[in-house]
Symmetry: D2
Subunit: 282 residues, 4 copies
């Protein structure tokens, strides 16, 4: 297939939504040249947001990580993470007690609210759970899978509480040829085992896009037709963008390889508006 | 379990979202007394919307049907249907050609737009499909299942086009003890058979709630905490309302019976804020 | 990938199991030359059986259809059909009353037993179902899908009876570029809609292979290592043969094309012992 | 519902198949009095077998465990375990190289064969996997879930090898009110994550029943009508027994409680021939 020119495409849009992993960066740093894209967007006075299925860190910490990599234009105000949705859910729906979590202490810190304290499943005593009013799955690290996943199953059998999955991804790359199971993959197992309905936040779910949509600087002048979603994954970025009514650009710097982009689009029926080699503008 | 008093509950909210089937009406007409609820809401100057997984008719036609039943307060402006989301999708994402559909001619009429003409699968000739740019599943009536579902499978093998399912329900009641398969149930079969990803609109999906949220009369004064979602079905009304961050009330006049409400809530893990016998206010 | 020579392969086995559709025949008749394969097997005094997910006809009728096509060596005694398993189930587990069915009258005739009479869903009166003790799904033809699938849903809500699906295939080809939905695809929809567990007979299920295994002429001299399963479909023929402990040969005259055999084997993890262009021996 | 008398029932059968966990024993030892049942079966000269989804130990070790509990009639010859099926699969289908496994060293010992050596995933070096020709999932203990499940995902991405799941159960009880995730539950997660088709052995799969059927002492005098399957779990013991064509008895000493037996039978559509309070014969 032939590819579309990213620079020419974005000229048609006022606001660009970017996926993070596979579009801006990979396991070994920034996509070379991606900082030029953001410099260009600023010269063109285009608004942009980064939509990421990441609940392991706060937007401030995520922005800091880009800064350290040398990408200074991705500031906290333009980051929309699935962790923000989990945080909003807890604020609105769980007003007291303890939120048990699977993840690192750092990932839990961000979701603490006025009325809520957090408790790692690894610290949980199954005999004193009457105060546990929600479970949040944040990160695949920070706990022992054997012990703590079994503890989680028993918590959910004793307490009928909402379970929030703050990252819908099943896996993530840790090196050029190694994957790791993400908390979203672990959540699928627990949901099947306990037979209850979990609440998932993250692309392709519409709420990620609404959240970004509501952050747009000058909403009065922007309609969905003015927004482009850019991502490397058909089932999250492109499906979610399409469903929300946005035009979508698939880039080939991450999960989807140039050689099988066409066959994957045909076999899944998830059809991007454009296919570009990368989001880099030279 | 003991039930909450609906009148007392709504005093805490500025805006009420209602499911239609099983809450306002059933297969044999209005829920007796439901009109008093809407009279009361108007005296209290509370804003209300009806969110319905129904793409078989336009909001005007849906309002007309309530009017004929004697419920005059449910006007087109307060109806949010999954058909409206399908219509927006087509407006935003499919700007020319033909939209093939499964449903009645009436259901198709509503989704026709400036650039798009519609064509029933029953009228489709599989040899001339180059202009077909989308398929929409609207209603379980208006076509022959044997012939036209097989025709649909072959259309989707030849044309890689978006498939929009405008009603996510699997079944609907047609009498006190008879169900019928809804187009959402048919869609599941087709999606499995063709192995492609369809785009579904309807509760519990967040987009239904956003659509209603954006219709609220005085948005500046209303937050999600001021809205109550009222429904009879845990997997659509209550799950969707909870996920969107709203308080939720399960009523027992439809899919969920009083005797098994408690066990269903426990077995599904879908937890309403309140459980009320009905949405009727005397 | 390079292909194995079918003639050379079968020299290693005493008994050959064949899938029918895509191996012996297609929508437009016999695979050219396949009769030579059976002539050769007889000269070599090798035992062979045809294992087919087909409950629309009796083994006698299936053999007759091969005879009419010019393949005279496939006699009733060497045909193992999923309909035979459904028939055995009814003989063993349902000893009186009526068996309702979806399919043609001809397909039902074969499953009638001493104690059981059959009744087409299209003839069924939902008000007189107390004698209906099982439902069997036999064929996608012989009934009206709109009317009779809805009738089936209501039958299964009123009577808690075993549901037997006598063909696990989701689709079947009707011409070079047209598919039709098979009764196995319809069964998936009904099972989801009614939420009950159906009983499926057909490859890849082990029972098909046992049935064939028990028919082997000289069982005392044959072990599983002496049997080769030949099929065109990874998910039924090859998966089932592998799981039963047989060596397996994938042929490329049906569902699996030469150009994507390798990628499909890798992506599914269903690994045949051999891959051959066809089962024809010249 | 009223219950059937177990002693009266078994008088109608020549051979009895028993599930183990929840029928003969629980997390805290033998079901009181169960030894009397086996004494009675011997006086009646009835043949019996124990069919268990357990690949953590050999039949000899399983029999030894019953002996230590005081049940001396369950000898190795009457035990059919899913581990035996996994072992047969490897003997027939994997004739050289290394079998990687998830489980304890003890569970692996049993599946070692002439041509095959076993290697724990915890010992596996992902850089030297060219000799690994199969993966077997045997037990939830004996490895670190965080490290070794991620290692397994990457092994299966690099080597397209058969994956055998030797225990289909998702959970098992460890005390009166605690469950643990079984290897079958872990297998579901890995299968979803890697997107490949695993091979499962254990009830309700027919192969367990065939294996037992082939062990029957005097096969010539026994038909399927002479065999009763006794179990505590609808989805494994009863579904599998029914599908194989056996009469089935649900006992209420394990997974299914007396108070919800009726509703579970109705909601699943899995219908035992009999329901008995226990398999104990006084």
């Amino acid at each position: 297939m032939q590819f579309d020119d990213f620079k020419a495409i974005i000229s048609k849009y006022k606001v660009i939504f970017f996926d993070a992993f596979g579009v801006l960066k990979t396991y070994n740093g920034l996509i070379p040249g991606i900082e030029k894209t953001f410099a260009y967007l600023k010269t063109q006075n285009k608004d942009f947001y980064v939509l990421t299925n990441d609940a392991s860190r706060s937007p401030d910490q995520l922005a800091e990580s880009y800064h350290l990599l040398g990408l200074h234009d991705v500031v906290p105000q333009c980051i929309i993470s699935s962790g923000m949705l989990a945080r909003e859910y807890l604020e609105l729906k769980v007003d007291h007690g303890t939120v048990a979590y699977l993840g690192t202490a750092n990932s839990a810190h961000y979701i603490e609210t006025a009325g809520l304290k957090t408790l790692s499943i690894s610290q949980l005593d199954l005999n004193t759970i009457s105060e546990v009013n929600a479970l949040v799955m944040l990160d695949d690290e920070g706990f022992d899978w054997n012990t703590d996943l079994n503890k989680t199953v028993n918590l959910l059998r004793k307490r009928n509480i909402p379970v929030i999955v703050a990252n819908t991804d099943a896996t993530y790359p840790v090196s050029q040829n190694r994957l790791a199971i993400a908390i979203g993959g672990v959540a699928q197992m627990l949901e099947t085992v306990v037979g209850k309905q979990f609440i998932r936040f993250g692309k392709p779910d519409a709420q990620m896009f609404i959240f970004a949509y509501e952050h747009i600087r000058s909403p009065s002048t922007v309609t969905k037709k003015d927004i482009l979603m850019v991502g490397d994954t058909l089932h999250t970025d492109i499906l979610g963008g399409n469903k929300f009514g946005l035009d979508t650009a698939l880039v080939l710097t991450g999960n989807t390889q140039a050689e099988d982009a066409e066959i994957r689009i045909r076999s899944t029926g998830i059809i991007p508006t454009y296919v570009c080699e990368s989001a880099v503008i030279d």
